[in-house]
């Protein structure tokens, strides 16, 4: 009896110490960036376990801010959302680039992201997945009318338009109105002036809008059912719908698609940095990166992953992005802190306008 008890206790203690020594990687990421298949491969190879929490930019930052950068070991906000929150709340810790295999990254993208996420000489982010946002259009219905963001306000598509009331919409409309909001990032007065113009346009345009979409699935339903024929959305959304309905696809707007890069950052109170570096090095391998591209629908910053990507996705990408459209992509620079409150006021007023 005593012996059994002793053995059980020993086993329990052993089991407990086992779980304590193996690292658990708590990953805060986007839907599709950590497919089950990749997680299984990673767990098998390294012995770490991965816990995934799916989120979006705003919620990631809000979550990390609430805990002072705790609760997660690796997060994936967009590269323009790193410098501001880091200066304001100090929720990230510097990345030791020497622990990463730099040869796995596309050099230009790695350099640009590291430059955009440097605060006080320390690098806080490395690139993972990139993509663009622009127009997702039912080309049979609205293809001739809608060529740019502002065309969503055309009378021909009245009542069949949907976009988000978020900052990409403001930026997109600003470019379509002939302004350069990114150049005005450093000048709050000028930026407020541009946003004023955008507000007037969006208020005018409001009667055209069926509803402001909130989540990706909501927009997919609206487009699939034909209730919406022209919208502002991510490229992957358009390409996914293209599989179901050949008329619907992503179109790069005349004034330029907006380019984003989602990154890897280490939250300030992360407890499994080694597992985090292991994860980054693992998923940036070309074969693994191709699996993530297949699941998320977007390309990664992994060098050489292109040749493993599906041909159908490559074909859609090439159809949406002729060379001049690629050159015209407007990449988001880091957002200075004060601007978001200007944008917030504009968005509130547009939503409340009649």
């Amino acid at each position: 009896m005593t012996k059994t008890l002793l053995t059980t206790t020993c086993l329990t203690v052993l089991a407990l110490s086992q779980t304590a020594s193996a690292d658990t990687l708590r990953l805060l990421t986007w839907g599709g960036y950590a497919p089950d298949e990749v997680i299984e491969m990673f767990e098998e190879e390294t012995g770490h376990t991965v816990e995934v929490t799916k989120s979006n930019n705003e919620e990631m930052i809000a979550k990390l801010r609430a805990t002072g950068g705790g609760g997660f070991d690796l997060a994936q906000p967009s590269q323009d959302r790193i410098m501001g929150p880091q200066m304001e709340f100090g929720i990230y810790k510097p990345i030791d680039v020497s622990k990463l295999d730099e040869s796995l990254f596309i050099p230009s993208m790695l350099k640009a992201t590291m430059g955009n996420t440097t605060v006080g000489g320390d690098v806080y982010g490395v690139p993972h997945v990139w993509g663009t946002s622009g127009l997702v259009i039912n080309t049979a219905e609205a293809g001739d009318v809608v060529k740019d963001y502002t065309d969503l306000c055309a009378p021909e598509v009245a009542g069949n338009v949907s976009y988000r009331l978020k900052r990409p919409t403001l930026i997109g409309f600003a470019f379509a109105l002939g302004e350069d909001p990114f150049a005005a990032y450093g000048d709050e007065e000028k930026y407020a002036e541009i946003m004023q113009k955008v507000e007037t346009k969006l208020t005018e345009c409001k009667s055209n809008v069926k509803t402001y979409w909130g989540g990706g699935d909501e927009l997919m339903n609206l487009l699939r059912s034909g209730e919406v024929t022209a919208s502002m959305a991510w490229d992957t959304g358009g390409w996914k719908l293209n599989d179901d309905n050949a008329d619907i696809t992503f179109v790069a707007p005349a004034s330029g698609a907006l380019g984003w890069i989602d990154t890897f950052v280490l939250p300030a109170k992360g407890q499994a940095d080694d597992a985090a570096y292991d994860w980054i090095n693992f998923v940036m391998q070309p074969e693994v990166a191709a699996k993530i591209t297949a699941s998320a629908g977007n390309f990664t910053a992994s060098a050489g992953a292109d040749q493993f990507a599906e041909d159908s996705l490559k074909a859609k990408y090439q159809a949406s992005f002729p060379q001049e459209a690629i050159d015209n992509i407007k990449w988001y620079p880091p957002v200075p802190a004060g601007l978001e409150s200007i944008e917030g006021d504009v968005l509130d007023r547009v939503q409340a306008a009649n």
């Binding site: 705003e58 304001e88 709340f89 978001e340 409150s341 917030g344 007023r349």
Partner: protein
């Protein structure tokens, strides 16, 4: 002996005190402190009433604030109007098994989550949805009808979500009303209307007030229904709180909004009790 009783008292009280202080009082104090801050620059904050000033001077915030309050009161009224006959039927007209079945029918929609129920309404009301197709099939409409994304759809959702919380207290109070009292009312020459006004409603008053308070609170604090069913103009106050906290990272203004909402609901509940001449003890006890 006395000592034992005291230990028992303390032990029984501990969960309540912990719950109140850890989950309600301390977070609220923290919220209050946040709402009294003003951001100066990176990580530098100053104590000021600037957030309250902003919340009370910006017409948009005030409009949304009052709109949310008035719509919630309206939703409470509509819920009461619909729930009263239902509750009366269940409590007084239906007997035995039927009574239980009807009560269960009211409960069944709440077996699924609010999200699923709201999606159900979206499937019914959307342009390519069930009702629109039905109308076209019958011939009452010659093109798809959009019934989603407006204030009426939102109101339908709010009333549907809160029905049960009105029906339950009403059924409980109405059941305690002796049938012979109603009969006596008729015997003394009353008609349906005067019996309802003089006997049934006064008796059901505790149920009406407590049901109304719960429904009002639920509507005022609802986030999902206004966001999903409401149109592009229908901004709800809870949505603004979420926006300030999560999207704008402006916790100071968000906390201020939170306190405004807390104050509003307290004032309206107090007003409702005053109006009906009841005390909180009578209603809740």
């Amino acid at each position: 002996m006395r000592n034992h009783a005291r230990i028992g008292f303390v032990l029984l009280l501990t969960p309540l005190v912990l719950w109140l202080s850890l989950l309600i009082i301390i977070p609220h104090i923290d919220m209050l402190l946040i709402s009294l801050r003003e951001r100066i620059s990176f990580g530098v904050y100053d104590t000021s009433l600037a957030q309250y000033e902003k919340a009370l001077t910006e017409p948009l915030y005030l409009r949304t604030f009052w709109r949310t309050a008035i719509m919630s009161i309206l939703a409470t009224g509509i819920t009461l109007l619909i729930a009263f006959p239902v509750a009366y039927y269940i409590a007084k007209m239906a007997k035995g098994r039927l009574q239980q079945v009807l009560f269960l029918l009211c409960l069944i929609p709440f077996y699924v989550s609010e999200l699923v129920r709201t999606f159900g309404w979206m499937i019914l009301l959307r342009e390519t949805g069930l009702i629109s197709n039905l109308l076209q099939w019958v011939g009452l409409a010659d093109q798809p009808v959009e019934m989603l994304y407006n204030d009426s759809a939102m109101m339908v959702g709010l009333v549907y979500t809160s029905m049960l919380f009105m029906v339950v207290p009403l059924v409980t109070t109405l059941e305690s009303l002796d049938d012979s009292v109603i009969e006596a009312g008729y015997d003394l020459g009353g008609n349906g209307l005067s019996v309802l006004r003089e006997i049934i409603i006064p008796h059901a008053m505790p149920g009406i007030v407590s049901g109304s308070i719960v429904v009002f609170m639920l509507s005022l604090g609802n986030y999902l229904t206004p966001t999903m069913l409401g149109g592009k103009d229908s901004l709800w106050f809870t949505e603004m709180i979420y926006n300030q906290f999560i999207v704008r990272s402006n916790w100071e203004l968000g906390a201020t909004f939170g306190f405004m909402l807390l104050l509003l609901s307290s004032v309206i509940v107090w007003g409702m009790l005053r109006l009906t001449g009841r005390t909180l003890q009578e209603t809740m006890g």
